[in-house]
């Protein structure tokens, strides 16, 4: 284990939303170079965990710890977490009227680089990444996510990841709403981004995306718990058999009682 460099690790994380505990003690470590997938049925708490890690005000981490590159993130505001190297591609990206994609991207990158940092390479970088993701340049001057299709929103999320080059990217249902061509383009974008120095956490209901982005580890989440972990073959098994057969130790115990 000594050669592995933990990027994001969390331990016994509990998340509460609207007074309800929806994540109930989740532990995971993502090392540099690794891709993990959390799969699970709808409502199992995958998005809640993702949002809470990013610092969403409605999703409170009530117990446990979380570290990004060894530093606790629990007292950080979302913008600090982002600048520290954490990224979340939203399951439902919001529309921000009147704010163009280009302006937004520029502000985000400027925030990451520092207030007075040189931004003269911005246009070139931005164009190159748009090209790579097959995003028409007209999107640069459109208002962020306003009137975008589901697929367009997801591409723009990946564009943001590519521009910001985070240490750890959590991708929440990035495959949903994509047709097969878009799925391939987005998967290529993720694979291009991934290297030995960063980590990826794919959060998904289906294993579709996993055909194109190969996870090293697959975890199954049910009712707020990670109930099973395995290699990529687990995803295929889930595809075949669904989620019902997976029963965590805790649930086993409950059954016995």
């Amino acid at each position: 284990m000594s050669d592995k460099k933990p990027l994001l690790s969390f331990n016994d994380v509990h998340v509460e939303v609207e007074g309800k505990e929806v994540v109930r003690g989740v532990t995971l470590t993502i090392n540099a170079g690794e891709t993990h997938a959390i799969m699970g049925p709808n409502g199992s708490g995958k998005s809640s965990l993702s949002q809470a890690l990013m610092g969403h005000p409605s999703y409170a981490i009530t117990r446990g710890e979380a570290f990004l590159k060894g530093e606790s993130i629990l007292d950080m505001d979302p913008d600090e977490r982002s600048r520290a190297g954490l990224f979340l591609a939203f399951q439902y990206p919001l529309a921000i009227p009147g704010v163009t994609v280009a302006n937004f991207m520029r502000s985000a990158l400027q925030s990451h680089r520092g207030k007075d940092a040189d931004m003269s390479d911005f246009r070139k970088l931005f164009k190159a990444e748009m090209n790579a993701l097959g995003i028409d340049h007209v999107f640069a001057t459109r208002y962020l996510n306003e009137g975008f299709s589901g697929g367009e929103k997801k591409r723009i999320e990946i564009l943001q990841m590519a521009m910001l080059q985070p240490s750890v990217a959590i991708l929440d249902e990035t495959d949903s709403g994509l047709d097969i061509d878009a799925l391939k383009t987005v998967a290529e974008g993720i694979n291009r981004f991934h290297n030995d120095n960063n980590g990826i956490l794919l959060v998904t209901h289906y294993q579709r995306l996993l055909n194109y982005v190969k996870p090293d580890y697959v975890h199954v989440m049910k009712a707020g718990h990670l109930v099973k972990s395995g290699g990529p073959e687990l995803a295929l098994e889930l595809e075949d058999r669904g989620y019902d057969w997976v029963v965590g130790e805790e649930e086993n115990q409950k059954v016995e009682v």
Partner: protein
């Protein structure tokens, strides 16, 4: 009714020389207005449109003098002079409180027969037009403070666009109110001929920058006439100093097939009460209002819009946005009136109020007087804080909270700002940036 309901009569004490200005027929109109002002009681607080603002505030304090102007102090003047010189503007009028009115008009406009001149001159040279329209849409019967302007306007501006003429570039009217303890009564009459087209920016600047040395007063009246098939864009920009008590009544009447875009920006004043109204008076008339109010500090705004459909097959739409921070307040009353005989009209109204912090207050009062059933009409209003989800989304990309708020608010007002001519948008954005400067 009592002949004099105000105990000490501010107008008489003011003894304004304006009362004696103009030819006899104008002096008679002024006298009638004065009489009406003196005999009309101060509106009681419960009365329509006066529930949120104390009408006494708009009566001049005894020590207010009728200031002489001539001092050029607003930086907007420099910018707009440049815009005129480089040809961005077709005309520029600098109105120093009605005391001195300087008109600049590009040569081609004069050739087209476009008239932009002090009202006092137009009364002589274009008497027929002026007599036909002045005091027609705003007069004594409108209210006490409209009568006050009707008596005391010193000089105003007259704009006339002849039939079938299109003025491509904007005409900018820059009105500068006086400093503390002064009063200004700007007046504007615009007549847009048949199938004519124009963009007017009517900017109210100057005034007292703070209440430290007392209030500055400004009471303005705007009358606009849109001829058949005419196309008018009228931008009103209120950015007077925060020690100014500001009152404005605007009425437009548009004929068959005419379109009118009214874009009020309300940024200035200590107390600002504005009333924008368009009367759709011919089939196919189309009026759109897109407003933006941004209040800071302890500013108090009371805005009213009215769409009056007096003829059938007319269309109106209002989108009035409000942003408040610090302890600013706003009351917005939006009236849609559709007459009994005005069938198959469409009328829409939306008022959104964005409150940037606790301590601000916004009221929104939709009023519908729809006197026939054969119409399509909707209205909506929201009052609330920033969407924290939007803030989170931007912060999740590394953008600090204050910057995220700035971006979201700037984005929110953007669709209104883009209704203004391009050369003005930069200044409008600067006002917004300034207001969001120290969140």
């Amino acid at each position: 009714m009592a002949t004099n309901t105000t105990t000490d009569n501010p107008i008489r004490e003011l003894n304004s020389p304006a009362l004696e200005r103009g030819p006899l027929w104008i002096r008679d109109l002024r006298k009638a207005s004065l009489e009406s002002f003196n005999t009309t009681p101060v509106p009681p607080r419960g009365l329509h449109l006066w529930r949120y603002t104390d009408p006494e505030k708009f009566l001049l304090k005894n020590d207010v003098i009728d200031t002489a102007f001539g001092e050029h102090f607003d930086q907007a003047e420099e910018v707009e002079l440049k815009h005129f010189e480089d040809g961005t503007l077709a005309g520029l009028v600098i109105d120093n409180g009605g005391r001195q009115i300087d008109v600049r008009l590009s040569g081609d406009l004069a050739q087209m027969g476009v008239v932009v001149m002090p009202l006092s001159e137009a009364i002589e040279s274009h008497r027929e037009l002026v007599e036909k329209h002045l005091y027609q849409t705003v007069n004594n019967t409108t209210g006490k403070f409209e009568a006050m302007n009707g008596a005391l306007w010193n000089d105003g501006i007259f704009v006339y666009i002849p039939d079938n003429k299109t003025v491509e570039r904007p005409i900018h009217l820059l009105r500068e109110a006086g400093r503390a303890n002064s009063a200004a009564f700007p007046r504007l009459l615009v007549v847009v001929g048949q199938n004519a087209e124009v963009t007017l920016v009517d900017e109210y600047a100057g005034g007292a920058p703070s209440t430290e040395d007392g209030f500055a007063y400004c009471n303005a009246v705007v009358e606009l006439i849109g001829g058949q098939d005419s196309r008018t864009r009228y931008i009103s920009l209120q950015r007077q100093g925060q020690g100014t008590i500001s009152y404005l009544t605007h009425r437009a009447r548009i004929a068959k097939g005419a379109t009118m875009l009214t874009v009020p920006f309300a940024f200035g004043g200590s107390i600002s009460k504005q009333n924008f109204g368009v009367n759709l008076n011919g089939e196919g008339a189309n009026s759109k209002m897109v407003g933006l109010l941004f209040g800071t500090g302890r500013q108090h705004f009371d805005n009213h819009t009215m769409h009056h459909h007096s003829v059938g097959q007319t269309f109106s739409d209002i989108d009035f946005k409000v942003v408040l921070r610090d302890k600013a307040r706003s009351a917005y009353t939006g009236l849609i009136r559709i007459d009994h005989s005005a069938k198959t009209c469409e009328a829409y109204q939306e008022n959104r109020n964005l409150l940037l912090n606790r301590g601000t207050r916004a009221e929104t009062i939709p009023e519908l007087e729809i006197l026939n059933e054969d119409v399509s009409c909707s209205h909506g209003a929201t009052v609330g804080p920033l969407d924290e989800m939007e803030v989170f989304y931007l912060m999740a990309r590394g953008i600090a909270r204050e910057e995220a708020v700035r971006m979201i608010v700037s984005g929110y007002v953007r669709s209104t700002i883009t209704m203004a001519p391009e050369d003005l948008q930069e200044r409008l954005s600067a006002v917004i940036a300034d207001r969001l400067g120290d969140l």
